[in-house]
Amino acid sequence: MPAVQETVERVRRIDVDQYRYGFETQIESDKAPKGLSEDTVRFISAKKNEPAWMLEWRLEAYRRWLTMTEPTWARVDYPKIDYQDIYYYAAPKPKKTLSSIDEIDPEILKTYEKLGIPLREVAILEGVEPPPGGPQTPNRKIAVDAVFDSVSVATTFQKELKAAGVIFMPISEAIREHPELVQKYLGTVVPTSDNYFATLNSAVFSDGSFVYVPPGVRCPMELSTYFRINERNTGQFERTLIIADKGSYVSYLEGCTAPQRDENQLHAAVVELVTLDDAEIKYSTVQNWYPGNSEGKGGIYNFVTKRGDCRGRNSKISWTQVETGSAITWKYPSCILRGDNSSGEFYSIAISNGFQQVDSGTKMIHLGKNTSSRIISKGIAAGKSQNTYRGLVSAHRKATGARNYTACDSLLIGDKCGAHTVPYVEAKNSSATFEHEATTSKISEDVLFYCIQRGLSQEEAVGLVVNGFVKDVLQQLPMEFAVEAQKLISISLEGSVG
């Protein structure tokens, strides 16, 4: 099991209070004034050279936001956020318009290097040893749309994608270059009035990714975006829109790391997915925002709205997430199963340690006939953290033949943490079949001793047991991501026992 060995090695090298990715890059930045007003919204829109319709859309969201109140139903507890004490826009100052990777600020490239992200066209990953029985993935390709702070600074593999007709670009560019597509789909899955954080995002989003896969096209590579917060006190408001047209397929990877900070950082992203007839989107996330220090100070507040709309018949949306970071996580990647025979999946690993608070889960809204959904959630709580699964499965009156299977498993490490499961189930027609299973377990002393008697250290033993616990979900991730996720899991749980 080389991956686990390597993980353990890495865990050993890391100091408890030293967040691995907690370095700061020295680059000049271009900020909007602190605070939120119509002027801020106009500033952002102007910075992006946006057309009038986009500005109007933002302003409408902003006005709506003013009438809303912050939700308090989640099982998370944090000091009140002063929305006037936050910067809403920061961009690395470009010297000129960038046309190739070589023109990127070397400082930024160095940052990516430290993160081990293959930004240059070395993205054809080789020498990754698949686990026994795992998928063989030679010559897998990944296209990276690197988001540095709020502006996308580089996009690779454009040529090959272009040949396939796939549009993969920063959403700010898409607004200018493909306004018809953006206007047709933006806000149709997560409306500007959806919820407090999504509405805020609609008003001030800075950038994010846009993907359009034309009918019948199978995207020739995995698409990937790495996010990174790099500006002190900067709210991070990403906006992602992915459209899979009829009969198409795309797999999208998202990963995050953030530098160590003492102040809390607000993050409110919105992701919208649309699949038309017979199309499929697979969306995978490894989230590793700064979780706060060993006393629970600092850390990212992560309020995310992710939703997919299976708009067409036989379409499919699959969410896979590995959540290890953030001080506060408020996140429910959901599927609206509108098309007949459409299906939605949610595979999740949510790990909390230290003083982290996670309230995460999914919503499967069955609207079409014979729709199916599957939820596999693995929550791991360690330290003094609180880990809540909150999920909704509902079948509309007309959603005959709806089927859902839900399995929520929680693993507790130590006796100062908590795991909670809050499932909501609503069936409005009698032909729906919903199954729900839930378990809560602890890593027992006997299991640990067994492993240790065989020569493993305490940390190796915990890593092994946890990796076994989350295996069903890890298998859903693309190979490279699975390796990365496995490392993250062990790093996150470092020092959780003994």
Binding site: V447, F449, Y450, R454, G455, E460, V470
Partner: protein
Amino acid sequence: MRALRMMLRKNQMSLLEVKDLKVRVEEREILHGLSLTVNPGQVHAIMGPNGSGKSTLSHVIAGKPGYEVTGGQILFKGEDLLEMAPNERAAKGVFLAFQYPVEIPGVTTWNFLHAALNAQRKARGEDEISSPAFLKKVREVAKSLNIPQDMLKRGVNVGFSGGEKKRNEILQMALFEPAVCILDEMDSGLDIDALRIAADGVNALRSPERAMVVITHYQRLLNYIVPDVVHVMSKGRVVKSGGKELALELEESGYAQFEDAA
């Protein structure tokens, strides 16, 4: 006793030496000064009624948390075993075959064994063994013990029968090549056929360099794994030691005769 003393030739360094061991669990003394000397190549049987401290002895040798050693010492190849962490003891060659092996869902037996073997090798300053080399090795070992290959692909002990669990312990024993094997109630939960298969596995691993300590209630197991020395434990002490015939004697007369001796 003379024969026994000859068997324990004093001029040769013993593999495992337990000297006047006193152990407490939550304020209650379980072992009251137990001594035991095991030499390479020997098989020792430890017999005794429930609560006599047999399993406590095996746990303390392996280093299970929750036991307080209040007196005496345990030497392994002359080194102080009690000073070593449990995984360090494993790397040095102390193996405990568990009475109730645990299940580890989602972790294949193959992966588990590989991780454990490499951890031991690393602790000894040896090179780690690569996946292909390990696969070859573990297949050979499994084959020599008549263990089906598909067991390696299943989760560690998950859904294993009692016999399969014990065979998995023996597989590990064969793979790690320990110097001392402690078999804790290996016969519990096994029918006679499974018992015979497990015992065959153990016998295959007997060697002049290796010692085994077989803990059991019943003489039955010792028909298959024939010991060189038999010890009777009662109330936290070894009350009698002898050759293999002692086990037969016990089978006839029971443990009651030793209750007073303790």
